[in-house]
């Protein structure tokens, strides 16, 4: 408190002193017969010189930062196939804009300096020159045309990679504030999912016969409890509203899940593709040189899957699925050697503001040989295994719907 008062006093004092000083200066200037707004030649030259010097400052900063930060250590070369193309496009763009940056800033600051006020000279009344203006319309137009063309070619390669039967289907699932990766298992097909199927055990809301049974039991139980709290009517008005909303949502949920049950029982849907899916929540492991197609979903708000080393980035949007396909070409081990950094890891970040600990929503990614990958995956439990374990704990029988 005392500190704040002192601070306040210092600030006030500073303001008063500056005001006094200004008045003195102004008075002195007037005594010397100068108009306050008039700029003396030395002042003018000084600012012209500073303008020229700022060019030096700007370029020194550019060179310093480029030397220190624009290199493999901070910006490792792309570790994916399309990323290599992206990098060379980026380089081309940088050459172009750096050249333009230098030319224009030099002209600007140099002219400002060179043509500083001189009372013996008159400015040249030079209002336009169609030829000149044509030149600097056409040149940027041509440069832009080249950049657009090159850019679109790379964009096309990035978004339409050659089809490959061997492509691995992998889901990235985002929620506040963590990631789950879902491997598609032996069938290389991701099983269906619905947000109404989500519960503590089944974060992704995958649908399988066992999961349906589990969810129905949970949701029906919840709705009974909520229903009785609402009907008993002991709640304060505000709580009561909340519980009513909850009940409405639960009823909507039960209807949807019951529909899945019906689909399954009537044999319209087998919901079997999810059985061999594998859920991973600590590290994503990818086989090198095999195309991966990322399928992205989100549970609550928009997140974004950002894998900068692979030049991969795509929003995860609740209510729809987004995709990004790429091919990792450098293993983590190779990258560690290349960067001479034993700690190096590829990472998946969340890159769309999503709430309090958005900044912490990260998962390491490891790129390994096909063999290591297979071994790693084989050791993982499948979704079906996990669901059965939970069902057993709840005392429910599995495979309840073997009756068709």
């Amino acid at each position: 408190m005392l500190l704040n008062l002192i601070l306040l006093a210092v600030v006030l004092l500073a303001i008063i002193t500056s005001a006094r000083l200004l008045m003195v200066f102004q008075f002195a200037a007037e005594l010397r017969g100068k108009k306050a707004h008039e700029i003396s030649e030395s002042e003018n030259n000084m600012n012209a010189l500073l303008t020229l010097l700022s060019l030096v400052g700007l370029f020194s900063m550019f060179f310093y930062l480029t030397a220190v930060y624009y290199n493999e250590k901070y910006i490792p070369g792309a570790a994916s196939e399309h990323g290599v193309e992206v990098d060379s496009l980026l380089n081309l763009n940088f050459y172009v804009i750096t050249l333009a940056f230098f030319i224009t800033q030099i002209l600007l600051m140099w002219f400002a300096y060179k043509y500083r006020y001189n009372k013996n000279r008159r400015a040249t009344h030079y209002a336009h020159n169609n030829k000149l203006e044509m030149i600097w319309t056409v040149i940027p137009a041509i440069v832009m045309a080249v950049l657009v063309l090159k850019g679109l070619i790379v964009w096309n390669h990035t978004t339409n990679p050659d089809p490959d039967k061997n492509t691995l289907n992998l889901e990235l699932y985002a929620r506040q504030f963590d990631w789950t990766a879902r491997y598609s298992g032996k069938d290389n097909a991701l099983g269906k999912a619905s947000y109404t199927m989500i519960n503590e055990g089944n974060i992704l809301g995958l649908i399988s016969s066992d999961a349906i049974q589990e969810q129905l039991s949970i949701v029906r139980g919840d709705s009974l409890v909520t229903d009785s709290t609402v009907t008993l009517g002991f709640l304060p008005a505000e709580k009561l509203d909340q519980e009513k909303t909850r009940l409405r949502r639960l009823i909507h949920q039960i209807r949807t899940v019951a529909e899945f049950e019906y689909q399954f029982k009537s044999g319209t849907e087998s919901y079997a593709a999810s059985h061999d899916d594998v859920l991973v929540r600590d590290t994503i492991v990818l086989p090198v040189n095999r195309p991966v197609k990322l399928h992205m979903r989100a549970q609550d708000v928009i997140h974004s899957a950002y894998l900068p080393h692979f030049r991969v980035h795509m929003y995860c949007v609740p209510g729809s699925e987004t995709y990004f396909a790429f091919k990792p070409i450098t293993t983590t081990k190779e990258m560690k050697q290349k960067l001479n950094d034993p700690e190096f890891e590829y990472r998946l970040y969340c890159n769309n503001i999503c709430g309090a600990t958005h900044f912490n929503m990260m998962l390491p990614v490891r790129v390994v040989s096909e063999k290591e990958y297979a071994a790693w995956l084989a050791a993982k439990k499948t979704f079906d295994d996990e669901t059965k374990t939970r069902l057993a704990k709840m005392g429910l029988k599995t495979n309840f719907a073997n009756n068709h």
Partner: protein, 623 residues
């Protein structure tokens, strides 16, 4: 050269002797008998009608400016709070607790408040400062004065425009004090985060206030814009054809048109969001599971919101930039003592930019899952914008060539605008390329790009405008030495803050991270340096604020035409009148850039209202 060192050469040049004869020419005695078209300055004014509910465009301009400055200081404070966290993550800063209380327990910024600070900082700067504070101030001040009008077409609507802006600012300030905190979903408030109070405390009451604030803001922009356009179209004085308007007025006209066409879309977007928040609709919501419950809403699309938002959002960045470019054109020409180079090309490129700005919004959405073909189209249209932008930059540079440049503080800021516009515009070329944007989207590279090209450049334009037209606004001069100090420290710290951010972005550091040093430890030094520049840059703004208020009361009295400028605003008396000109409104005979004509005269400018000389008439029979 040395013989001139004691010879204040520039003074003779800037002295207003030349102008005085001109002023007399328009003095009111001369035209006293023309009482027929004056209006308004006869009825009595009370304190309230003069300073508060004023309908005089000049007073409204000052109201916009001072409110904008206040909001600017709040926005800047917020940025310093989060820069403290980013520069020294997790370190206890007692000053934070003093200011923020429970939002900074033990002097460490709370992660939720970090996001709120980022959000409100962006909102305030984009809307309250660089839209209202900039357009509101200078459109109001200059459109009638430079066109020779007594006031705006509808002074009453004009007054309402200010008061809706005031209401908007007030609501935004109130939202800082609510229990659950202000809005914290980023200035773009993408749903579902902004739609679900369960997802973030800032999406509760704070978000509701944010939305109401922006609705009031939109009302303000629309009323102001209608007025500006109507005034430009209808109230130009005799002889002021469209192609004799100063480029400032062109910029304000185009800006107002952009606002009129794009802000209503934001209003729609905001209303739908309000419905989703409180009426159970699902425009933006679908398949959401949050805090243990599966919501009923299905079928909406969060990406729809982004289309609507950026349909405003991209034109908005030009709404912010164009007035600054207009001011820059004027200030460069006056102080280089040369006509702006390529007047018509400048107008043409502004029109082209304005048109294109409506068909590029998708470049903010390359990675939302939009069809790649659509991405290609937006890449193409976006890169087209680079062409008119390049024309403008080259024309500015050529305006300096062979000039006779007087470095007033306004001139320095105007040169700064050009430098920043180039630096930031060039990185736009990279971001426009969908293939490259994938990896740069939402990184510090984007932060660097738009702060330099929009944030700092427009701020510089605003400063240029304030230093240049301060004598017109307050009848006194600002202190130029403090102006120089303000300019140089601001320039250095602006580049110091934002230039290094490009490199962080290229390395993949995401924006809006409460802390990023765990994964990007290599940048912790740089982050600290950036924060130091930010603090220095923030402090030096206090010099400006001091200079501003000091000069209002104690600055030396302004002469009639301190910069020897040829535009009409300098023909009005220094002391403000309701109705602007005591006598008849001047008639315009020439374009606004007759500087340094090779006509053998000693003075190097001819005011717009001076009839053509015999020689000129012969040279230009077309007129």
């Amino acid at each position: 050269m040395s013989e001139h060192t004691n010879n204040p050469a520039v003074e003779g040049h800037l002295g207003h002797e030349v102008h005085e004869s001109h002023a007399v020419h328009h003095g009111h005695d001369d035209h006293a008998h023309h009482g027929h078209d004056d209006h308004g300055h006869h009825h009595k004014e009370t304190f309230i009608t003069k300073y508060i509910f004023s309908q005089d465009h000049k007073m409204i301009a000052k109201q916009f400016l001072i409110t904008g400055m206040f909001m600017g200081l709040v926005g800047m404070m917020l940025s310093i709070f989060f820069r403290l966290q980013l520069g020294w993550p997790g370190q206890s800063m007692p000053i934070l607790e003093t200011f923020l209380g429970k939002w900074a327990p033990d002097g460490v910024l709370d992660p939720n408040f970090y996001l709120a600070a980022v959000t409100i900082h962006g909102t305030i700067l984009v809307f309250m400062v660089l839209t209202a504070g900039l357009s509101g101030t200078f459109s109001n001040l200059l459109i009638p004065l430079q066109l020779g009008a007594r006031d705006m077409a509808s002074p009453f609507l004009n007054m309402l425009s200010y008061w809706f802006f005031f209401l908007s600012s007030l609501l935004m300030m109130v939202s800082l004090f609510v229990e659950t905190g202000p809005a914290s979903a980023g200035w773009t408030i993408y749903p579902p985060l902004s739609a679900l109070p369960e997802a973030s405390p800032g999406s509760g009451l704070g978000m509701t206030l944010w939305l109401f604030s922006i609705i009031a803001f939109i009302v303000s922009v629309l009323m102001g814009g209608l007025n500006y356009i109507t005034t430009v179209m209808n109230l130009r004085t005799k002889g002021m054809s469209m192609t004799r308007m100063p480029l400032t007025v062109w910029a304000f006209l185009i800006t107002a048109t952009l606002g009129l066409l794009s802000f209503p879309v934001l209003l729609g977007a905001g209303l739908l969001l309000l419905f989703d928040r409180s009426m159970g609709t699902s425009f933006y919501l679908s398949d959401i599971y949050v805090s243990g419950q599966a919501l009923e809403q299905t079928g909406g699309s969060p990406v729809l919101y982004q289309h609507l938002f950026w349909f405003l959002g991209h034109p908005e960045v030009y709404i912010i930039l164009l007035p600054s470019l207009g001011i820059t054109s004027e200030v460069l020409a006056v102080n280089a003592r040369k006509p702006i180079f390529g007047y018509r090309a400048m107008i043409g490129s502004m029109l082209a930019i304005a048109f294109l700005s409506f068909i590029v919004w998708g470049h903010h959405m390359y990675v939302t899952g939009m069809d790649p073909l659509l991405g290609s189209v937006f890449t193409f249209t976006t890169l087209l914008i680079a062409i008119p932008s390049a024309i403008k930059a080259f024309n500015y540079i050529t305006t300096l060539w062979k000039g006779n440049i007087v470095f007033t503080p306004a001139m320095l800021f105007a040169i700064g605008v050009v430098s920043l516009f180039i630096t930031g515009g060039l990185t736009g070329i990279i971001l426009a390329d969908s293939a490259l944007d994938v990896n740069l989207h939402h990184t510090y590279f984007v932060v660097a790009h738009f702060h330099i090209v929009m944030g700092v450049a427009s701020m510089f334009g605003t400063f240029a405008g304030v230093y240049h037209w301060f004598p017109k606004m307050f009848g006194r001069m600002m202190n130029k030495k403090l102006g120089y100090l303000h300019f140089w420290v601001t320039l250095i710290s602006a580049y110091g803050v934002f230039f290094p951010m490009h490199y962080m972005g290229l390395a993949g550091v995401p924006r809006r991270y409460y802390q990023n040093f765990e994964f990007f430890s290599g940048f912790s030094d740089l982050n600290m340096v950036i924060s130091i520049f930010a603090i220095v840059g923030g402090l030096v703004q206090l010099v400006f604020v001091f200079n501003f208020f000091y000069s209002i009361f104690k600055g030396p009295k302004a002469p009639q035409n301190p910069w020897n400028s040829s535009t009409l605003e300098w023909t009005t008396p220094v002391k403000h009148l309701h109705g602007n000109w005591p006598g008849e409104i001047p008639t315009v005979h020439r374009w606004p850039y007759d500087y340094s004509l090779p006509n053998g005269e000693e003075r190097d400018f001819i005011p717009q209202d001076e009839p053509l000389s015999e020689k000129e008439k012969q040279a230009e029979p077309a007129h």
